[in-house]
Subunit: 333 residues, 2 copies
């Protein structure tokens, strides 16, 4: 099967949008976002063994490859328009390509995001997607826009992708229904596009949680030159806490709960800041997007991260330092 | 070295442009092309062993990785604005990264093209670049715009990248100065950005020659639903012909000259069509861009490719069929 035949058979995307002036099949695709809009661009690369296991269901992989990119658009408050796909494959395996393209294009259709070009080549399995969205000029949710006094919020629930990873690693056993739920969080994350768009004009700064809450909140703090005071009592009310409590002693639960929620990564939820005066508007945005929101702290002028235990006492900095964000190069020899 | 440190140390790009509203460091970069412009987008993936040898000079590789993408912009008549880089590396090798980033950013600077975001990860060496350019709304050089009666032109010279490859393969020996010249064509192609922009409003259809002249002209013919009559006498006046003639007998020269020029690939020249009434304007565009142009045939209404030998006699279709374009999947098991 040649490159052009491979594209025609598996990646012909019927979806059209007026913003795509010219799609697949020329040297470049041509994008025409509306006047007064900014074009948001993000790129992510997924490598076998690093971001997914060779045993992953190709349909789930197709979903996730696009989902992690859409999640970056969500964190800007951008509306998805289109994406490019570059794919290196050891061989043109029809069964794999059918599943992968089905998962990929189903999520693309759900967000009206057009596959507008790409590249395929032989090589070790590698998936590189670049996604494009539009956001009104003044309403992008940037990382550098947090202000002292802002509330800090997170969407959905955290730590469950890490829970599934630990089951795969054999450090924990779950009953089938709990495992299926955790695995779905790891393999089929839901990019929070509707929430990001609903937060335009309401939130100040936002980031998506791909490397863990502490790491991604850290990017906001650094870019905005501010600090944060984070509560931790809310961790005891998470679905991860409930799941772990069904299997482990209290001590065992706590030793996993904190690092997994705070630094587990692969969550693809949003962490964002908004003025305290906008709490009702934030909650309304969450309802509109059908996503639960939790207020977890506030932005401070002092450029440091302080974490409070459930008794409102500061945790030792050494404990916090231990929960570092996940770094894709930290384990490179 | 962590991911963020790797980016800071090797891929901090000082270049700024007004069209880049927000660069590196947020979930997405934000692009703001001018009103009335189209944003041209192209993506290419380079894999070790497939697109380059492990022994390649990293600086040349950095140059080429961006050059092949800029070449796609050139073929649309687009002006480069920015690019994203996704890089999978077996390990963070400082020497390699220094060379690669130097070659990459030098070419980016030469074309005022901003590195505005990306992704780095551990994995088998893989380079994925997505490039953005702008072109006035009605002036993009599309593949589907060739018209019967158009002249067909090529820029620069063809087949020399293939010549270098054959020396590496050991099928031919060249003196040092000839080898250095051929190797430069293979490793450091010059994207024809200035020519593409100069051809706006003059050329009808264009493509860059990455897969070989016949293959890429074939894309224009298919997209435009036309055919072509190609001369071959001009092949005897190419620099490849002169070089080969210094080493080989006439028969040996001809057996290499035709397939290498017509289907060798990796040339990154432009093939384009323009009305016969515009010959002077085409030649002026070539002078303006400091690129030699050769008129090699004309577009016909009949959807077939006819090639004429130097005596103006049609070559047998079987000979033409033999010179197929290079397909990145054709040798996948």
């Amino acid at each position: 099967m040649g490159e052009f035949e491979l594209i025609r058979r598996y990646f012909q995307h019927g979806l059209q949008r007026r913003e795509i002036a010219l799609g697949n099949g020329d040297d470049c695709a041509l994008l025409a976002p509306a006047a007064g809009q900014r074009l948001a661009v993000s790129t992510d690369m997924l490598v076998e063994g690093r971001h997914f296991l060779s045993t992953v269901d190709p349909e789930a992989l197709g979903h996730k490859a696009l989902a992690v990119n859409l999640s970056d658009l969500a964190a800007m408050g951008a509306e998805p328009l289109a994406f490019t796909l570059a794919l290196a494959l050891p061989r043109a395996d029809a069964r794999w390509l059918e599943g992968f393209s089905r998962g990929l294009l189903a999520l693309a259709d759900a967000h009206e995001c057009v596959l507008m070009g790409g590249d395929t080549t032989a090589g070790p399995l590698n998936i590189c997607i670049t996604v494009f969205g539009q956001v009104p000029q003044a309403q992008a949710l940037r990382r550098d826009a947090a202000v002292a006094g802002d509330d800090i919020w997170v969407s959905g629930s955290l730590g469950e992708a890490r829970l599934a990873l630990e089951v795969f690693r054999g450090t924990l056993h779950l009953d089938t229904s709990d495992f299926v739920a955790a695995r779905a969080r790891m393999e089929r994350p839901s990019p929070r596009i509707a929430l990001g768009m609903a937060l335009r004009g309401i939130a100040h700064a936002a980031a998506d949680i791909s490397d863990g809450l502490l790491g991604d909140l850290g990017h906001i703090l650094t870019a905005s030159r501010v600090g944060a005071v984070l509560e931790t009592a809310w961790l005891l009310d998470t679905s991860l806490h409930r799941t772990l409590s069904a299997y482990l002693s209290t001590d065992e639960v706590l030793s996993r709960l904190y690092p997994w929620v705070l630094t587990g990564g692969d969550d693809y939820e949003l962490v964002f800041t908004a003025p305290a005066s906008g709490r009702e508007a934030v909650l309304a945005a969450g309802r509109q997007a059908h996503v639960a929101l939790t207020r977890i702290g506030r932005i401070s002028a002092t450029p440091a991260l302080v974490m409070l235990d459930p008794q409102q006492q500061p945790l030792p900095p050494s404990t916090v330092a231990q929960w570092r964000g996940f770094d894709h190069f930290s384990s490179v020899p």
